[in-house]
Subunit: 446 residues, 2 copies
Amino acid sequence: MSAASQARRRRGADDLEIVAFERGRFTSYSACGIPYFLGGLVPRAEQLIARSPETFRDAYAVDVRIRHEVTEVDLGRGAVRARNLENGEEHWEGFDQLLVATGGEPLRPPLPGAEAKGIFGVQTLEDGLAVRRAFDEEEPRRAVVVGAGYIGLEMAEAFKMQGLDVSVVHRDSQPMPTLDPDMGVLVADAMRKMGISVHSGEEVVGFDARQGRVTAVVTERRSIPADIVVLGLGVRPSTTLAVAAGIPNGPSGGIRVDRRMRTTIEGVWAAGDCAEKFHRISRGPVSIALGTHANKEGRVAGINIGGGDAAFPGVIGTAVTKVCEWEVARTGLRESEAPGAGFEPLGVVVDSTTRAGYYPGAQPIKTKLVVEKGTGRLLGAQIVGREGAAKRIDVLAAVLWSGLGVDEILNLDLSYSPPYSPVWDPVLIAARKAWERVEDTVDECR
Amino acid sequence: MSAASQARRRRGADDLEIVAFERGRFTSYSACGIPYFLGGLVPRAEQLIARSPETFRDAYAVDVRIRHEVTEVDLGRGAVRARNLENGEEHWEGFDQLLVATGGEPLRPPLPGAEAKGIFGVQTLEDGLAVRRAFDEEEPRRAVVVGAGYIGLEMAEAFKMQGLDVSVVHRDSQPMPTLDPDMGVLVADAMRKMGISVHSGEEVVGFDARQGRVTAVVTERRSIPADIVVLGLGVRPSTTLAVAAGIPNGPSGGIRVDRRMRTTIEGVWAAGDCAEKFHRISRGPVSIALGTHANKEGRVAGINIGGGDAAFPGVIGTAVTKVCEWEVARTGLRESEAPGAGFEPLGVVVDSTTRAGYYPGAQPIKTKLVVEKGTGRLLGAQIVGREGAAKRIDVLAAVLWSGLGVDEILNLDLSYSPPYSPVWDPVLIAARKAWERVEDTVDECR
């Protein structure tokens, strides 16, 4: 819908007809907001909807057809086959330009018992509404979250806020596999202190059910009783439709696009979780499902479809989440993945506070920088801390994007005032320490 | 003391003798914390002291002599004359290397009545303690702050927190003259809503006193009753001692230094509020009194004095403050000062929220970007908002430092999650709008 809006800005309704097919009932809602709706922080699901199909129809002259699934794309004819999910009718709709914005699909390993009632994904707003209904109707007491990435941790928080007993089970050594283990362990510790059971390094092998309703999550090592289960195992680009039509994927499994979000086929565009992204630090293709990328890519595609010229320059893997009082953020490459991208990394972890130490509300913040040995070039950063910690990742994302080294970062003119920062901001302290380590390493080589 | 610590890190006590003269009683304290001590947020003045003279003596082998004022520098002899303020004795101390770190001195126009009791500056910790004593002993009810820069606004907040009636009187059209007036007016509005009287555009002409104690601040237009007055009229570099010794100032009135913080004289260094700074956007010399610059410069000077090699790359004028619930931040050039630096500016102001709109605690944030017409290069930014607004200036400072244009900034991979940001962060929205304005302006020229 970002693309539709941008295309419409450039070309009026008399010049460009825009038809949008959506399998679900909703357009333009915040999928990232679902855990906060389920936790009760956001009382009504409608609050997550930015613009309704009616708004798009009325204000943007976009012909939105909800509950319509596109089942086939015929590039030769320049048409898509759409199925009305209400009545099963199908028709072909022609196009001059096609945008594929099919999003991501949740990873769902075929585990025994996975079809039991009480097991949910939380990818779409419909999913969220189903979990909410289960809360109201079943009054579950014990929740198990499978997976400890962003959505897993956010759902653990949501269940906790609803007063449930919460367990998280996942296969990696620490929660948040997008962090290095030395930072992820802090998240695990914080979760346990909040009373969440964390079972790391455990593969789920199936689910127990009674009368078709889930009763336990079974791992290699134990059976965890559960009244409700959420699967947060990540998503992959949803490209089945595009691939069947002959629109090629890239090596990451997302639809291959250029910087203007055009696929390899003239007149066919892709944007959002279904589209491959270019990682500016590893210089390789990646699939990252995130609303902020999807929005930017949609804008770029829409400008280009509308006859303008815009480019999406890629991503650096920035992400942030919160688990109750804890804030977690990351950008760039982990120490553990830097060698795979051709860098010899150095990891430096620094403790500081979010405000001047004497100022009320100063909170702990732990910052890890991943820098290149020898040069001190920043490769990535991770933050775990409390209130006021996480958004500092944006400063590191900005300098990582700009290609600065820690010797330059340590002198950055960042804002200082006791309510906001120590006289050396945690970002600067981390850069200083990292640069000292780089200099030490250079000395070692002499 | 930053310099002393860094020099000591590189050269041990057997290799380098370090003597530090300090006119006051304290070393290494947070002058920026004084308003929070006076507002009662920081209960004890000792909390503002990072390291005592004893710590420097014992842990760093720095011979700190408090209550010693250096009254003369003899570059030819390589010696300073120091006066013991306790007993009036003087002696000459030789040096191989000299660091001038005399700081800033408050601007104090010679106004009639300015010597009355109850009128204070708040530059040193001694000043702060004197105001605190006045609180306790005189129980003032009506406070007037003269000046509406950072210290003025922070003192207005402090008085407000102590339950006083507070007036702020200042000569500019809006508070916070480091903001453009269209942003400064937001600060004035917020202050008035908090019950602070703001008299803008009024020059103070003198003070009324009874029995030697201040009773009113007199402006061209009115007399404002006052039991206590704080002067926050800014500071200038304190260079009298250096200039008398033949150490030259630069055009900004601070001691001229190179990037290594060396003055024009071999073996003589300067750092902190007394030293001139290079502004990376205007490409000219400036004087900015700020603890974070002082610390960085001290570090650089100390590394170089200790035989290392470090450079201070300059400043871009980043600053932040809070006035009760309002947060104010800025970096780079104001729209109004950009032409003087040779840029044709475009100012764009955007309203957004600090979190996703539906997330509890989302607060208003107004962001102004100043960009160069035609190119879209970022020249400066200003933020006025509530909780979570101000520190976003650091992202803009980082990209301003790196020389990015708003067309690059709008696609930055900044972190997104509903508790921290809308799906388009306010920084990105501002860059988008600014880029649209730049494109419109380019179209106009065609």
